[in-house]
């Protein structure tokens, strides 16, 4: 065995705290180590070729690189050693950066620790064996979870490239958040005018199947071969018959809160969210339906020209096979009412969220595009009042530790500017518009200019400072919302008596995102946003091979960014599925059958049913692990009492040797 040890300086990242040269020299005393070397940037071209040079010229049969985290460069160096003709699995990485030089200050101690980490890696590399990947065939169909703009974009890109795509959308229509927006910044072009054609394209695309009002119930399998159980929720309407004529909706006597319009208006128990819905199909909200709640009514059944109503309908389950899965589950609006009691907890009618205002501005919205004060709505013989003074408050549920949302929602500054401008155009230029902000984040193309326009052209008054309190008061006979805050630029208290206050409520992960992540075994951060595999190098992949991210499910995004990422994701998926066979990791478990005592504990514990009872020539049964099914977790290995199951790359001997090496007096 000829081991080569390469110790990285990583510039000063490592060498600043660890004597890379020193431990490289010391490593020469370790058994089987025939070559040691320290390199300034091992991952650089010269660094990698140094390794290859040594492998070839000194006939190294094992390689240890002491540098950064294997999560960073294990793949890189595996390729490097493979390039020099060495099996890539005869390589081990010692993490002396993230786990040492970056977390310690004392040079001598850090150096000592780095050497111990290196020794452990050498002990492990001695135990490694050459491994060869398996190949599995790939299912080329793609599942897109979420039918918002990101999901639609990914689906269309993939479908155009010839792949079969299934969009699973939990609402009755695709469109997501964007479908609820009026205009989009910075172009102020109509949101629906951009989106609805794409929705129709998706619906009509021969390669796309839209499964609306469905949810992913269970996911099994692995990259290239996922098996997904999908639950078709009972709409109480036969969608094959339904023609989306809306008659049921007009005749239905039962009112229900209008979720699509964020509660600004009411809809019916049987409903279609909006006129351009795709698919345009009705569904009954059972909890509001008279028939289901009181056992009488059935008006919809009587009026339906297509005889589509089916009160007996049950949830259905379908199972489908996919090669890749794209998460595009989008976002929800931060529930500010629960957190901002100083803003009235939602009890002040004239304090509304940005999304509510978006609906108000929308021509097909509850007020047909008229800007009104909700407190003056629905009063008999009185027209709703148009606000004369409108105040926008930014960063509600963003950049606010006190409500556990330290992050920036990244879209509020811009949509506030947009809404401020639209307020002028809807309610007249004479409307007083204030924006309370912390900082203006206008980083996108044409964004800064857009904000400037709001301030100059539309004379929107930007006040830098937080609003500490909102409360109602009656000033000269008319009801106002008093906005009390501070102007940090002038350094004085300001108070505005507003007719309408719009909160730029931030973005939070979609409701249920975490539960879904757990079904797919992908990781997520503390706010429920899905975690990318690497923030810079693998921004659209998850840690679970074959599962990708698109749009705001990963982090708050505006439309252009979401769409750009969605197309990037599509490209990644295409890259994956362009192959007919996939190499699977060879770091899997294997049974040494002549030692198996047939206790079947492995069969019991495996989450993937990889171990099977295999009949032997003598008629007895021994455990056998199906290579392509095994995911290499090693649960069976730790459960096997005789230790006759070996996890390649993480053998018990390798682990024990590392422990003993470390504890060696």
């Amino acid at each position: 065995m000829r081991i080569g040890v390469f110790v990285c300086h990583c510039g000063t990242n490592i060498a600043g705290t660890v004597n890379s040269k020193g431990i490289a020299a010391r490593a020469a005393e370790l058994k089987d180590v025939v070559h040691t070397e320290d390199l300034i940037y091992t991952c650089s071209e010269p660094g990698q070729s140094a390794i290859q040079k040594a492998i070839i010229e000194k006939g190294l049969t094992r390689v240890v690189v002491a540098a950064c985290s294997p999560h960073m460069h294990e793949v890189t160096f595996r390729r490097t050693v493979e390039g020099a003709g060495l099996n890539p699995y005869l390589f081990e990485m010692a993490n002396i950066r993230e786990h040492c030089s970056w977390i310690h200050d004392d040079y001598d101690m850090a150096t000592e620790k780095a050497y111990e980490i290196l020794k452990m890696s050498v002990a492990k590399v001695r135990q490694l064996e050459a491994l060869v990947p398996n190949e599995v065939s790939v299912n080329k169909d793609v599942l897109v979870i979420g039918g918002g703009v990101a999901g639609i974009q990914t689906a269309l890109d993939l479908a155009d490239a010839g792949l079969k795509v299934t969009i699973v959308e939990r609402e009755t229509t695709i469109g997501g958040t964007m479908a609820r927006l009026d205009k989009t910044f910075p172009t102020i072009d109509c949101s629906a005018c951009i989106l609805t054609p794409r929705m129709v394209d998706a619906a009509q695309h021969e390669n796309i199947e839209i499964m609306a009002y469905c949810e992913v119930d269970k996911v099994q399998g692995y990259v290239g071969n996922f098996t997904v159980d999908i639950r078709k929720k009972a709409a109480m309407v036969d969608w094959v018959k339904c023609i989306g004529c809306e008659i049921c909706m007009q005749k239905c006597p039962a009112k229900a809160p209008d979720v699509f319009n964020v509660g600004l208006a009411e809809t019916k128990a049987i409903y279609i969210p909006f006129p351009q819905a795709v698919p345009k199909r009705a569904a009954i909200q059972v909890e509001h339906c008279r028939w289901f709640q009181q056992g009488k009514c059935k008006v919809c059944e009587r009026v339906c020209p297509a005889d589509a109503i089916d009160y007996e309908q049950q949830d259905e389950y379908v199972q489908k096979e996919f090669g890749a899965i794209v998460m595009a589950t989008g976002l929800d609006v931060f529930p500010w009412e629960e957190y901002y009691h100083e803003y009235g907890s939602g009890n002040i009618p004239d304090v509304i969220s940005g999304l509510q205002y978006e609906r108000m501005l929308n021509a097909s919205g509850p007020t047909s595009g008229h800007v009104v004060r909700p407190s003056t709505q629905g009063i008999k013989g009185q027209e709703p009042e148009e606000p004369k003074t409108v105040v926008f408050i930014q960063c509600v549920g963003s950049r606010d530790e006190s409500v556990g949302r330290p992050y920036c929602s990244s879209v509020c500054c811009m949509y506030t500017a947009k809404q401020a401008i639209l307020t002028k155009s809807h309610a007249g230029m004479d409307t007083e518009v204030y924006v309370f902000y912390i900082d203006i984040r206008a980083t996108g193309k044409g964004y800064e200019e857009f904000v400037k326009r709001a301030q100059t052209e539309f004379n929107v008054k930007y006040v830098r400072g937080r609003v500490s309190k909102l409360y109602e008061d009656v000033i000269d006979g008319s009801r106002k919302v008093i906005v009390r805050g501070v102007d940090t630029l002038l350094g004085k208290q300001v108070e505005v008596a507003a007719d309408l206050v719009v909160l730029a409520s931030g973005i939070t992960a979609a409701d249920g995102a975490v539960q879904l992540a757990q079904k797919l075994n992908i990781s997520y951060d503390e706010w429920g946003f899905y975690k990318e595999s690497h923030p810079k190098l693998r921004p659209v992949e998850t840690n679970t091979a074959g599962i990708f991210l698109a749009g705001a499910c990963q982090s708050p995004k505006d439309i252009p960014t979401a769409v750009a990422q969605a197309s990037g994701t599509a490209a990644k998926v295409l890259g994956l599925l362009s192959r007919d066979k996939l190499k699977t990791s060879p770091q899997i478990a294997i049974v040494e059958q002549n030692r198996c005592v047939s206790c079947w504990k492995c069969v019991e514990v495996c989450p993937f049913s990889a171990p099977q009872k295999q009949e032997q020539r003598d008629g007895t049964f021994k455990s056998h692990i199906i290579e392509t099914v095994c995911q290499g977790c090693g649960i069976c290995v730790a459960t096997c009492p005789v230790n006759c199951i070996t996890l390649k790359g993480f053998t018990t001997d390798a682990i024990i040797d590392q422990i003993e090496e470390l504890l060696l007096a």
């Binding site: 977390i103 001598d108 111990e116 990781s523 770091q587 993480f650 422990i659």
Partner: protein, 153 residues
Amino acid sequence: MAQATDTTQAAGTTPPGAEDDVKVVGIVCNWCSYAGADGAGTARLKQEFEMRLLRVPCTGRIDPLFAIKAFEKGADGVLISGCHPGDCHYSEGNYYARRKFELLDRMLPFLGVEPDRFKYTWVSASEGARWQKVVNEFVTKVKALGPREGRAL
């Protein structure tokens, strides 16, 4: 977090070879805790010096006997860390591990190993700060107990 910064003060201040020089083995899963430790490193979160990490795919891979072996071979503390329940990359590994290590945790004191010398916990890939806190608190406790020379286990 507050605590983390507190314990940070003490981090890495022990000179090598001091009598409270202890050896601590950490066995962590590849997907969550190892990545969490990476995160802590990337964020330059200072940590106690004595922790040495061993990477395995999943806490489900860890045989309680590894911990016992470590103690037998002279470890002064053993830390096991993996994905939070529900987040296991292999969906179930940490559930099996949780049972095994709960039993180990309860048995070790009976076998003459002080409770503070063993801990099993969950640190996700995004919890670098938590990792720092876990390491510093654990190692500090082990240091307080000192080395376990001349112990049978």
